[in-house]
Symmetry: C2
Subunit: 166 residues, 2 copies
């Protein structure tokens, strides 16, 4: 894959960006675009992550989800350590092309979250309360599909590094 | 609603943030957190937007979606102009509490997008192609539920301002 710009720069024309067919994604000041991954099977939101241009290009080309890990500062093929890769069933962009939606099929333990859970969104925020008094989260869909200690220790041992989080 | 900090500052303790019940959302350098809104009815992703602390507090308190409009630089009660308000059925946060997922019921024309469509994600990105040659988007779920010209011109006329986009 070449290092040249992989996507055209977004133009200033709002109508073209919103109603056109040219994919010209709009990256933020850090060169990233937010990405929502949902389960193609259940529809639930699995995670929110970021792609830089290279991660986006690799995802388009291979149909396998690649992200930019902000904590590790590098390209991240989802599941490269845990085995929980994501095959992209459908990719969409939004009106102003500054966000991406992936419908994915998860492989491995069917867990998107580095804590071992199916989704990163395993806690609900109660509604109808004034936040001032403190808001208590409620665990939902929080069963672990794998043991993160075991999985990441094994991966770390294999390459001699310690990871903080995906 | 007071102007004091509405949520506790996130601590440095990863385990508390990921496994605790204290809602201590992590805002980015601009004081924002990304928010995915999905339809409580169909499960589809409707939009990706941002909340500042006030928008988040109002959403928790009222159960009605409030965002921070980056283009207009102000708090934005979703649907305040178009009538397409969003009642929050469930709110969740993710593992490191730097993203929010809302399941919403849309009122009005059942359209989340300022272009008049049900979802902002009305174009698919084809997969399995090398991006270098240009990527052509394909319109899907792109039927308009309302005429944005008519709806926003009416709202603009009522208050004598011109809006760029929600």
């Amino acid at each position: 894959m070449s290092n040249a710009a992989r996507f055209p720069a977004p133009g200033g024309n709002k109508t073209e960006s919103e109603e056109g067919t040219v994919f010209a994604p709009r990256f933020d000041a850090e060169g990233l675009v937010p990405v929502v991954a949902t389960s193609a099977r259940t529809g639930e939101v699995l995670m929110l992550a970021y792609m830089n241009e290279e991660a986006l290009a690799r995802t388009v080309e291979t149909g396998e989800a690649h992200y930019w890990s902000r904590s590790r500062g590098r390209l991240w093929r989802k599941g490269e350590e845990s085995g929980n890769t994501q095959r992209v069933v459908e990719m969409r962009t939004d009106c102003d092309q500054d966000a991406i939606w992936l419908k994915v099929e998860a492989a491995g333990a069917d867990a998107a979250c580095h804590t071992g859970r199916r989704t990163c969104f395993y806690r609900a925020v109660p509604l109808g309360v004034a936040p001032g008094g403190g808001v208590s989260l409620r665990f939902v869909d929080s069963e672990r599909q794998f043991d993160p200690e075991a999985v990441y220790r094994h991966a770390d041992a294999a390459k001699g590094t310690l990871k903080s989080s995906e």
